[in-house]
């Protein structure tokens, strides 16, 4: 189910601006990988290039190889929607579809991809909402607008929506930055639960969060503004936070810069 992701020399551009420079890392299946680093260092750019979401912006392009179980997702004959169905994404700000109810939001991915059978959709909605720890809170008001939920609930709704299409990898771009500590805890618990089924990569500015949830941590940094972001160190979370091999990583996690 979950798949291995391998990046080798991934370099990404926005127009002529080089955002990240030859990132190489391997993400094992059924693990949680955290990407940390100061703002503007290319964490999100790298994350978005994993499911080809960065292409949405005009002028964005990429060099290097990014494979999911040995298939390069940037091969010219690859269907980008198939890649995104395989690699789901949760965004920084909860973005439930405002014209849809809670139920419709959860099954939106399935419905828009052609699943019509009511029983399948009902099952998927219930399972996904249960996996996202939201079922108990919304089961009596599935017909209400998704945008009427609280911020934390909306984010869990978006996670439910993402896992309803049964992806293999879930990318999370600072999923808790707009949430309070209790909602953050709920989502971290959720990540542990989802780890059994998905490969999870999470971008976070919260180092305690990275230390709490992840198996491996990648530290990104830039030399100065305008320079491309680089992967400084990538290792077991344990090692990064106790005994990093790079001076720069140590400076960052001890709060000396950034």
């Amino acid at each position: 189910m979950a798949k291995r992701i391998e990046a080798s020399n991934v370099t990404s551009y926005y127009g002529s601006f080089k955002a990240i420079d030859s990132i190489s890392m391997t993400v094992e299946p059924k693990t949680i990988t955290a990407l940390i680093g100061p703002s503007g260092c290319g964490k999100s750019t790298f994350l978005r290039s994993i499911n080809r979401m960065h292409e949405v912006l005009p002028g964005a392009r990429i060099e290097g190889r990014l494979t999911i179980d040995e298939q390069n997702i940037y091969d010219p004959d690859v269907d980008v929607t198939a890649v995104r169905r395989l690699i789901g994404m949760v965004f920084q700000r909860p973005n439930p579809f405002p014209t849809m109810s809670i139920y419709e939001n959860v099954v939106a991915g399935l419905k828009l991809n052609g699943v019509k059978k009511k029983s399948v959709l009902d099952d998927a909605a219930e399972q996904s909402l249960k996996s996202a720890n939201l079922w108990e809170e919304v089961k009596d008001r599935l017909g209400r607008p998704g945008a009427g939920l609280s911020g934390g609930q909306q984010q869990r709704l978006c996670i439910a929506r993402t896992i309803a299409v049964e992806p293999q990898v879930v990318l999370m771009d600072e999923p808790c930055s707009a949430l309070d500590p209790i909602s953050t805890l709920a989502i971290e618990d959720l990540m542990f639960k989802l780890k059994d089924r998905f490969t999870i990569i999470i971008v976070t500015h919260n180092m305690q969060q990275a230390a709490r949830v992840s198996d491996k941590t990648g530290f990104f940094s830039i030399d100065k503004t305008g320079e491309p972001g680089r992967l400084i160190e990538y290792d077991d979370t344990q090692k990064i936070f106790s005994n990093p091999s790079q001076k720069k990583t140590e400076d960052y996690i001890t709060g000396r810069f950034g």
């Binding site: 890649v83 395989l86 973005n95 579809f97 014209t99 939106a108 607008p145």
Partner: protein, 362 residues
């Protein structure tokens, strides 16, 4: 920067220790108003330079000045400026609404005279200058058919064009399209009418009519759709741009193709705004006279077929009746104008309710 001390704030009534301030009592405002209008009446009628309109204008100016003076004496200059601006803004709002209210009042009061069954059941066929009867049945048919066909043509083209500009259009071609849409917005309706006259009526219509050029309601609909198109494109474009990018990305991240994202996520989110834009265009088209006169020719008799023969429309009917010598004609013109406004209003309300029905925002 040094700390602000009490002495820096000398002369200001409000200090960190005192957050209370005096308020101008309502009674004083009313007194100022009474004095201002009394003074204005005395000046205007005393000097014999005008009537009540001048009293109102002068009184209002005196009231604003008096209010400012009274407030700055009691409340201080900051509060007085606030009060004056507030009064000015309210005045501007009233001024803006006045003409509209006046138009509605005039239409209703003059339009009710012929607002009867006869007006809606008969045409102007065989109605002479001395006949009190006669109605706008043929004109209502014409307006509904012409505007309906124009909407059917312009809405799909306009909405699809806007989708192209927002979702797909990049580079020179899109900019050119956008530029020409802007230029088209300023095309006078008579030019649109002339274009359809020279293109459709004089060149195309003879093919269907044994070589004879022919007026038709459809030609009028074409001219109206030329006028509606830029309005619809621009308003739809603005509405689609307001749909947040993260919504699109959210759909892409679920593996939904772009066309389906646009159809199922972007359009429904922007729908109420798109409908408003379309209704503005419909209202503009329904009120056009010149193109209908040029390419549909106008008619006194009922003609249900928009593809063949002269047709009238409500706006054209108003124009013709207002210029008619018969003493019964002005009443017909007023009622037709009232009918036109009511028609557009009903269509707008219906469209808004339809657009809201599907969305969940309550």
């Amino acid at each position: 920067m040094s700390m602000m001390t009490r002495s820096d704030l000398a002369g200001v009534a409000m200090t960190p220790d005192n957050i209370r301030t005096k308020k101008l009592p309502l009674g004083v405002s009313l007194l100022v108003a009474v004095v201002a209008f009394g003074l204005a009446a005395a000046i205007v009628y005393g000097a014999g330079i005008g009537n009540w309109v001048l009293v109102v204008v002068l009184g209002w100016i005196l009231y604003l000045v008096g209010l400012f003076l009274a407030a700055s004496r009691v409340e201080g200059s900051r509060a007085a400026r606030n009060r004056s601006w507030q009064s000015l803004i309210y005045s501007a709002c009233v001024l803006a609404i006045l003409p509209l209210a006046s138009v509605v009042w005039t239409l209703v009061s003059k339009g009710v005279e012929r607002f009867d069954a006869n007006f809606f059941n008969t045409s102007m066929n065989n109605i002479g200058a001395r006949d009190a009867n006669g109605g706008a049945y043929h004109a209502i048919i014409g307006t509904l058919e012409q505007v309906g066909i124009a909407t059917l043509i312009a809405v799909p083209l306009g909405v699809l064009g806007a989708i192209y500009l927002v979702e797909y259009g990049r580079g020179k071609f899109a900019n050119t399209v956008r530029f020409f849409v802007d230029v088209m917005t300023g095309v006078p309706s008579i030019v649109a009418g002339l274009f359809i006259l020279s293109f459709w009526v004089l060149i195309v219509s003879p093919w269907f009519n044994n070589g004879q050029p022919r007026f038709s309601g459809f030609a009028a609909a074409l001219a109206l759709s030329v006028l509606m198109l830029p309005t619809i494109v621009r308003s739809t474009e603005e509405m689609l741009r307001l749909v947040p990018g993260p919504l699109r990305e959210g759909a892409y991240a679920l593996g939904v193709p772009q066309w389906k994202t646009i159809l199922k996520i972007v359009i429904p989110t922007a729908l109420p705004g798109i409908v408003t834009g379309v209704m503005l265009a419909v209202a503009r088209a329904a009120g056009e006279t010149a193109p209908v006169l040029l390419v549909a020719g106008g008619a006194d008799a009922i003609n249900f077929n928009p593809f063949d023969g002269n047709q009238s429309s409500l706006a054209l009917f108003v124009y013709q009746q207002a210029g008619d010598a018969s003493k019964y004609a002005p009443a017909r013109a007023w009622t037709a104008a009232l009918t036109l406004v009511a028609l557009v209003l009903i269509l707008t309300i219906a469209a808004k309710m339809l657009a809201r029905r599907n969305s969940l925002t309550r």
